[in-house]
Amino acid sequence: MTAPAPAVRVGGRPPGAAAPPRRRRRHLGVYLLLVPALVPIAVGLGYPLVRQLVLSFQEYGLRQQFGQPARWVGLANYAELLGDPYVWAVIGRSVAFCLVNAAVTMVLGVALAVLMARVGAAARMALQVSMLLAWGTPVLASLTVWQWLFDSQYGVVNWLLADVLGATDMRFHSWIVEPLSFYFVATVIVVWMSVPFVVFSVYAGLLQVPTETMEAAQLDGASARQRFWGITVPMIRPVLSVVLLLQIIWDLKVFTQIYVLQRAGAPTRDTNLLGTLIYSYAREFSMAGALATVVLVVTLALTGFYVRRMLKEDEL
């Protein structure tokens, strides 16, 4: 009974029994192609992730740094963290900062994208080039320039406000000592850097709105506003939601801008956001781990939404 079966299988192939093993070798080869990529990801991201999760359930203080084994404390770190009103204040600030920044970035970005689609070639070119330049500037270089622009003594912003617009009390105004004006400066910088990405994504989406549909709506008597809200927005909704989600994810974990501005002389405690708060725990690994885990869970929850979207678009 068993004899014919292999004969049938071999029948279509050139003689020689090498076929099945070869196929399996190729199969394993596929996984070999993945190994070089998986190893660094596992070492550089996966292991720290696990390690941080473990640490967040342990007591890891000074004594442990001198060699004592860490003690399991269950959720004590989380309890301590979330029992601290200051941590809640920072969480509140971070969420507010994130929402304001994401909203301002989106509104400006969409407005500029619409503008870009409506102006002539020369003006569009100017807008595109300036956006690209801002987008491409390294974050540290742009932070440096913005500090110089907002410099209290010789900065252009104060000069503009005091000498051109006549608000003389702004002449030596220090922008970063007050939390609110600190966040204002941070917002200006973050928005300046983030808007180009929104503009280009939305503009590209606008180009895909069929001209015929718009013309038909125009013939039917739809006003410009009706056409925008009734046709354009629904058609570019996928782009809008993805871009908005990315803005929220990025703005929630903003670190470099806040950290650098703090170093410029702002009161750290009054201006901390989640990223800088984690950083300030520096050697209290357990607390840092617990807080980082909280941030991570929130981010991944947002990401999950994004990934679901991607899956629905079926791009895998």
Partner: protein, 311 residues
């Protein structure tokens, strides 16, 4: 590190066809823009666009302009807007600073390792994902997608602890490991689209003509992938060259600074004393990067749109 701030770690499927479609639509679009609104409206909108463009570009202009000004012309009641008869002294001072050269070398070393490792590894993985069907393929792609979103700020303490245990703090290798891990996912994602964009039929045709599978791949597909590899490479370069957060955590020794850390050190040393030198340093770092960025960005944006819009 997606984390690495400047360009988007956005899942992208760059396909030439979509980009071409976008390009084809443009003239049609322009005709419609002409047809709407009077000449006055158009003129006003154009002026507004140019004004916003100038506003947006001003900080960059200001960086370059200030870099050419000596101290006594920076500290004046009225700012100098055009650096006529400027000086190169600021640049000379920056370039003569041994810590700049040291930071430059560190950045080059880290970036070179990251670039080679991430390109080779990502290329192999992209090949596997887009050319073969195998068990676990979907979960691998999903992992790549999710991992991109892990914020550096949520992991850097744990990464520091790990590198500290292994004696890799303040080492180029240590920083390179965490950079490669952060950059790989997006690079795989990007290259995956490029590999999938080269029709397998081309390879098969070459195999019919007598090339081996490997031969067909390297003689036919690989050359067609060159633009994709360049784009991904520039992306990796920009990321590791500009990254600040992880470098801050890993390179604690001032002698092991990368360029962004060095620039921050320069700011802190010269704040309120000499912004000209600081701007020269910033410009030296920024200008080459901006040029690289201009070279690659259209490809990345097209990829984003292809991924996000169902056209």
């Amino acid at each position: 590190m997606s984390t690495l701030t400047t360009p988007p770690p956005t899942p992208a499927v760059p396909t030439r066809t979509r980009a071409a479609a976008v390009r084809r639509r443009r003239p049609v679009r322009r005709r419609r823009a002409d047809g709407r609104g009077g000449p006055l409206t158009r003129w006003l909108l154009g002026t507004l666009a140019v004004a916003i463009a100038l506003l947006w570009v001003f900080p960059i202009y200001w960086m370059i302009s200030s870099a050419f000004l000596p101290l006594n012309r920076l500290r004046t009641p009225d700012p100098t807007f055009f650096p006529v008869d400027g000086t190169l002294a600021n640049f000379r001072r920056v370039l003569a600073d041994p810590s700049f050269a040291s930071a430059f070398r560190t950045s080059i070393a880290v970036t070179a390792i990251v670039l080679v490792a991430s390109l080779v590894f990502a290329f192999l993985a992209a090949l596997a994902v887009s050319r073969f069907r195998f068990r676990g393929r979907k979960s691998f792609i999903l992992t790549v997608l999710v991992v991109q979103m892990i914020p550096a700020e949520g992991l850097f303490i744990a990464q520091y602890g790990m590198l500290d245990d292994w004696g890799l703090v303040n080492r180029v290798a240590g920083l390179a490991i965490v950079y490669v891990a952060a950059i790989l996912p997006f690079t795989i994602w990007m290259l995956r689209g490029f590999v999938a964009g080269v029709p397998i039929e081309l390879e098969e045709a070459a195999m019919v003509d007598g090339l081996s599978r490997t031969g067909a791949f390297f003689r036919i597909t690989f050359p067609l992938l060159a633009p994709g590899l360049v784009a991904s490479g520039v992306y990796g370069f920009l990321q590791s060259w500009n990254e600040y957060t992880l470098a801050l955590v890993v390179m604690t020794d001032p002698g092991r600074r990368t360029l962004p850390l060095w620039l921050q050190g320069l700011v802190e040393a010269n704040r309120a004393t000499d912004w000209g030198v600081v701007m020269a340093g910033a410009a030296l770092i920024a200008v080459p990067v901006i040029i690289f960025f201009l070279a690659v960005q259209s490809r990345m944006t097209a990829g984003l749109v292809a991924g996000a819009v169902k056209g």
